[in-house]
């Protein structure tokens, strides 16, 4: 463990521990969410920018660190304009492609390649790195609209550099069978955390991929062994269950028994995955999360979490079931659970010294999250 990251800076640092407090109520959150849904129907989705803003205002303000609540001051209009700007750029790109197609490309391309598929292909190609750019600019926007004790958050660094780095690393990770995951996680966490600040107080991230490779390699190979074992065991179990039964008879067994059989097999497969594979994945992810949090510092303030494999497993399984079984209506519950988990599991050691954090000069972007909206999953 790299001890420099957890040692207090200066001998006078007060490391009194505290935890964030989340005091939101699910019923109140649902009140806001249902209004958001209703307006979504009435406006055919165009109210989503305002709905998202209202939800953030509620969540932020019911979350407090060191006794002070966060404040979200973003506006729906800013998100809407951000989205329209990206739409406009895409429209321009489409127009440019159409002109190129009409005057030059159409004569040189095979007939089965149409302008629509070419446009979709170009969007998919640029959309991959742009999704990462969008994540970064989205974070910049959110931080700039977030206040704690009256000072704004901020995000330095270039979103384009981050997007390029993330795209290259993600591609390289896929090409190496995900063996670069610790390197990718730490390398991308560095700009994301290290460029963020609360007021003028920059966060510091002191992680190194080498610290976590041992655990990842153990996870990686255990995962393979478990999958092989699971598939082998499932095959053997099926063999025993079926025995000498003529599978061909299934053709005449009628629709209902076959459907029930398929449903039971799927249930068993999901249960096995949930019980055997998912805990292993959580074992790695909880470790990574603990590492990232412990290697982050804001001046004299240190962070830690004791999030365990089982916390994460329970959290993920229940969230998945909520979303799946509620057909989307469970989203507020998932957000509520997420903030409760953070407030239960995050420990903050120390407090900023008076007068050390000032208001940042940077007011952040004028509009936000257009790219994130267009190319990425953008929840609250």
């Amino acid at each position: 463990m790299n001890t420099s990251a957890v040692q207090p800076v200066g001998s006078q640092a007060d490391l009194t521990p505290s935890r964030p407090v989340y005091d939101g109520k699910l019923s109140e959150l649902y009140g806001i969410y249902l209004r958001h849904l209703l307006l979504m129907f009435l406006t055919l989705g165009w109210s989503r920018f305002w709905g998202r803003t209202r939800l953030r205002r509620y969540l932020w303000n019911h979350f407090a660190v060191l006794g002070d609540r966060f404040e979200y001051r973003g506006r729906g209009l800013e998100l809407c304009v951000g989205f329209l700007l990206v739409l406009l750029i895409l429209g321009g790109w489409g127009g440019l492609m159409w002109l190129t197609w009409d005057f030059w490309l159409a004569a040189h391309m095979p007939q089965e390649v149409g302008i629509v598929s070419l446009f979709a292909l170009s969007i998919a190609f640029v959309g991959f790195p742009l999704a990462f750019v969008g994540q970064y600019t989205g974070l910049r926007y959110k931080l700039s609209r977030t206040r704690w004790r009256g000072v704004r958050g901020a995000m330095a660094g270039s979103a384009w550099s981050y997007g390029a780095l993330a795209a290259v690393l993600t591609f390289a990770n896929a090409a190496t069978g995900q063996l670069m995951t610790p390197l990718v996680s730490v390398t991308l966490a560095r700009p994301r955390i290290g460029n963020a600040s609360i007021g003028t107080q920059r966060l510091v991230f002191a992680g190194r991929a080498g610290d976590i490779y041992g655990r990842y390699i153990a996870y990686y190979f255990l995962n393979i062994v478990l999958w092989v074992g699971l598939v082998g065991a499932a095959g053997a179990a099926m063999g025993v269950a079926i025995g000498d039964y003529d599978v061909g008879k299934l053709r005449d067994a009628g629709r209902l028994p076959t459907l029930l059989l398929i449903a039971a097999a799927l249930l068993v497969a999901y249960t096995l995955f949930g019980i055997v594979i998912l805990p292993l994945r959580c074992w790695w992810q909880a470790y990574l999360f603990r590492y990232l949090v412990a290697r982050t510092r804001a001046g004299d303030v240190l962070f830690a979490t004791a999030l365990t494999t089982w916390h994460m497993w329970g959290f993920m399984v229940v969230n998945y079931l909520i979303v799946l079984l509620s057909f989307g209506l469970g989203w507020p519950w998932v957000m509520h659970r997420t903030l409760r988990l953070i407030s239960d599991q995050l420990w903050i050691y120390g407090a900023p010294r008076p007068g050390t954090i000032g208001q940042p000069a940077d007011r952040g972007p004028r509009y936000g999250e257009g790219l994130l909206d267009m190319f990425d999953v953008s929840g609250v």
Partner: protein, 361 residues
């Protein structure tokens, strides 16, 4: 007893939080430290604003115009006192009662979903007819180009003229204003479909599998039935409408797009079954109106039913985009009376339409 801080003050310059209290008098609000009554801020009443509201914020902040300073009034009694200032009246607004709100909004949401669903169902009937023919033809052309890309097309001139001629006679009888074009793709599956812009695509396996020209004419009449009823565009409009509804129902979170696609697929299948029945009836009526034999359609279905897998491996009806063949056969069975749809020469030409073929490009 030591004076208690009833509020927190942030100066907007640093991240320091100061425990304060506040008092208002003529024209201004004084924010002071309760320990020594030293004044922290003096704000003119007419500049005061409440940032946020009690629906979203646990404690809406008090500030002054053009300043980043904040006064967070934690004590309810001080909040009530400050709410007497006209500019800070919003501080007294109670948060909405969640239970009543959920019931009210839930009921409204349900009503809107039902209304929009109805609008999609009914509106698609009319919306489809509002789409200009030029656009329909262009859309159909694009879809067709993608569908037949990489396949060989049958180009036997006489065979194509035979099927094209019958298709256009039936289409005119059905009241279609625009000519119908038939494309025959070499190979399988045993299928045919109708695209927007009166474009019909047949697979040659269907023609090979048919026992005679009446069976092909039956399938052709069925496809013209789809064109006459505008099913291709209606189906697309409906599917898009329902996908949009499902996307809205999930709050716009694209993670749940799969649910949207699933719902859209179910609707497409349901539309499929209703449209198939309607096309059967319309196609038979067209053949009969032309004095042509209409027994081929049910005979073709009968043949298809024989070849369909039996038992559990057959998909349940809900997953099938065609109604059960036995039911269709019963509904479409007609006597073998009337003129043949194709002459012997035309039928022969149609059978060999793929002897001459070319790439789709």
């Amino acid at each position: 007893m030591a004076p208690v801080a009833l509020a927190r003050y942030y100066d907007g310059v640093t991240a320091d939080a100061i425990g304060v209290s506040a008092k208002w008098g003529i024209g201004e609000l004084l924010v002071y430290r309760p320990a020594d009554f030293s004044i922290v801020a003096r704000w003119r009443l007419e500049d005061l604003v409440v940032v946020g509201d009690s629906e979203h914020e646990a404690i809406p902040a008090v500030s002054v115009r053009g300043s980043e300073a904040r006064l967070i009034v934690e004590a309810p009694e001080l909040r009530a006192e400050l709410a007497r200032i006209a500019y800070l009246a919003a501080l007294a607004a109670p948060p909405p009662k969640p239970a009543w709100r959920i019931v009210r909004l839930g009921a409204a949401l349900l009503g809107v979903v039902v209304l929009l669903w109805g609008a999609v169902e009914i509106g698609s009937e009319h919306a489809a007819s509002l789409v200009p023919y030029r656009l329909q033809a262009r859309l159909g052309g694009q879809v067709q180009a993608e569908l037949v890309a990489g396949h060989k097309l049958c180009t036997g001139a006489e065979g194509l003229a035979a099927i094209d001629g019958l298709a256009n006679r039936l289409a005119r009888a059905g009241g279609l204003d625009h000519p119908v074009s038939v494309t025959i793709v070499q190979g399988g599956p045993v299928n045919a479909f109708t695209l927007p812009g009166e474009r019909l695509v047949f697979y040659s396996d269907l023609i090979d599998r048919a026992s005679d020209g009446e069976e092909v004419a039956g399938v052709l009449a069925h496809e013209i039935g789809h064109a006459v009823k505008g099913h291709a565009l209606k189906g697309m409009v409906r599917q898009y409408g329902v996908e949009l509804l499902l996307r809205l129902a999930t709050g716009g979170y694209s993670e749940l797009g799969t649910l949207g696609s699933g719902g859209g697929m179910l609707l497409a299948l349901r539309n499929g079954r209703a449209f198939e029945r309607e096309a059967d009836a319309a196609g038979l009526a067209l053949l009969e109106r032309q004095g042509l034999r209409a027994d081929g359609m049910s005979r073709f279905f009968e043949q298809m039913l024989k070849e369909e897998p039996t038992g559990s491996l057959r998909l349940p009806d809900i997953w099938s985009d065609h109604p059960p063949s036995a039911e269709r056969i019963a509904a479409t069975r007609r006597a073998a009376s009337g003129r043949p749809a194709f002459t012997d020469r035309e039928w022969k030409a149609l059978r060999s339409v793929c002897n001459e073929s070319s790439g789709s490009n």
